[in-house]
């Protein structure tokens, strides 16, 4: 049993000791890979190409076209977020607005908190449509507003101080502490 194992082992050792035939082209392949430029060399070459000054010839009409294209691009890009006074997250207060408008078909709350857009804050009718109400979050500060009844009639809030009127239609003010 043991002798049989020893023979097999000896044959394997002899086989491993046999010289290995090398591909005669191996040296050539290795030297070719060593001589070829790596990533670093290619990047350096590209950087050098980018930095090298060169004359760019451009016709006046192409220049004008390029200028027009950039102008259009700048025109349509948003330039800045509308500044909106105080930050909303930390000092926002929910404020309820109520107005009596019996028989109205629609009432909107319109003010500087919704860019005076009558579509943005419709009020809800309660108590058989006599009372209209809405609650919105308001940042700290002094806000001008008014109610727009049926899309045509401006009403000041009778329960709030009046704002100085510049446009011949009444407005009110609400102050949120902060």
């Amino acid at each position: 049993m043991f002798e049989h194992d020893d023979d097999a082992l000896n044959r394997m050792i002899d086989r491993l000791r046999e010289p290995v035939e090398m591909d005669p082209r191996l040296d050539t392949r290795v030297m070719t890979r060593v001589a070829s430029p790596g990533f670093g060399a290619r990047a350096a070459s590209a950087w050098e190409w980018l930095r090298r000054p060169r004359a760019v010839v451009i016709s006046p009409i192409t220049g004008l076209g390029l200028a027009a294209a950039i102008a259009v691009l700048v025109w349509f890009l948003p330039t800045r977020a509308p500044e909106r006074g105080e930050p909303l997250a930390s000092d926002v207060t929910a404020v309820q607005f109520v107005v009596v408008a019996p028989g109205a078909e629609s009432v909107s709350l319109v003010g500087d908190f919704n860019d005076w857009d009558a579509r943005l804050t419709p009020m809800c009718a309660v108590r058989d449509g006599r009372l209209w109400t809405v609650t919105i979050p308001l940042a700290a500060g002094r806000h001008r507003y008014a109610f727009l009844v049926n899309g045509a009639r401006w009403l000041a809030d009778p329960s709030a101080p009046r704002a100085q009127d510049d446009f011949g239609a009444p407005s009110s003010v609400v102050t949120v502490g902060g």
Binding site: I58, P60, V74, G85, D112, Q164, D166, S171, T175
Partner: protein, 210 residues
């Protein structure tokens, strides 16, 4: 560089500047104002921005005008007037004033409060002035003479909290609605509020004898 190149470069820069100037207009106004009004309002906004004044109140005033279908001249006049009031408010309240304080200060000036009273308010109150200025404006709008209203708010300024000043203003309005004269209502209510403020201070400091 040839002449053609220089001309092309100048055209490019000019186009960029023109486009930038046009896009400096607030996009919310572009859909509501005609081109002439937009240009004038835009110039007023640029002046205010250059002077370090808040622009948002001017935008909102113009939007209010368009929502109320005001004539363009009236919108321009309102924006110009507000820009001037914001400038006076900033001079009276100081350069460190917040946009909300300047807006409230402009309203106070418009109501008839003197700039000197705004400066006194800034000196006496360390907290934000927005609520105090709003209360002052609302008192004057409600009929309290500007001098009486300013004296009352200045008396409260150093010690009263914002909610106490707001309560004071509501109490005065209630008294006026019930028939009191505005000046008398302000005088009576400011005394009551001062006693309340002093009482709250004493109760929070029990070692101090009244």
């Amino acid at each position: 560089m040839t002449t053609i190149h220089r001309v092309s470069g100048l055209v490019l820069v000019a186009a960029l500047l023109l486009a930038r100037a046009a896009s400096a207009q607030d996009p919310r106004l572009e859909h509501h104002l005609d081109s002439t009004t937009l240009a004038v309002v835009g110039a007023l906004m640029d002046s205010a921005r250059s002077a370090g004044l808040p622009v948002e109140p001017l935008v909102q005033r113009a939007l209010e005008g368009t929502a109320k279908h005001a004539e363009p001249d009236r919108i321009i006049a309102a924006v110009r007037r507000l820009a001037g009031e914001l400038g006076v408010a900033r001079a009276a309240l100081g350069r460190e004033s917040s946009p909300a304080e300047l807006d409230a200060g402009a309203s106070a000036l418009r109501a008839g409060v003197r700039p000197e009273d705004l400066t006194l308010l800034r000196q006496r109150r360390t907290q934000s002035l927005t609520v105090a200025l709003a209360a002052l404006t609302d008192l004057v709008t409600g009929g309290v003479p500007p001098d009486s209203a300013a004296a009352a708010v200045l008396a409260l300024a150093s010690r009263a909290r914002d909610d106490q000043i707001a309560d004071f203003r509501r109490a005065v309005e209630r008294d006026i609605a019930l028939g009191a004269t505005p000046a008398a209502a302000a005088a009576v209510r400011v005394d009551a509020t001062l006693r309340e403020v002093a009482g709250a201070a004493n109760s929070s400091n029990p070692s101090r004898k009244p």
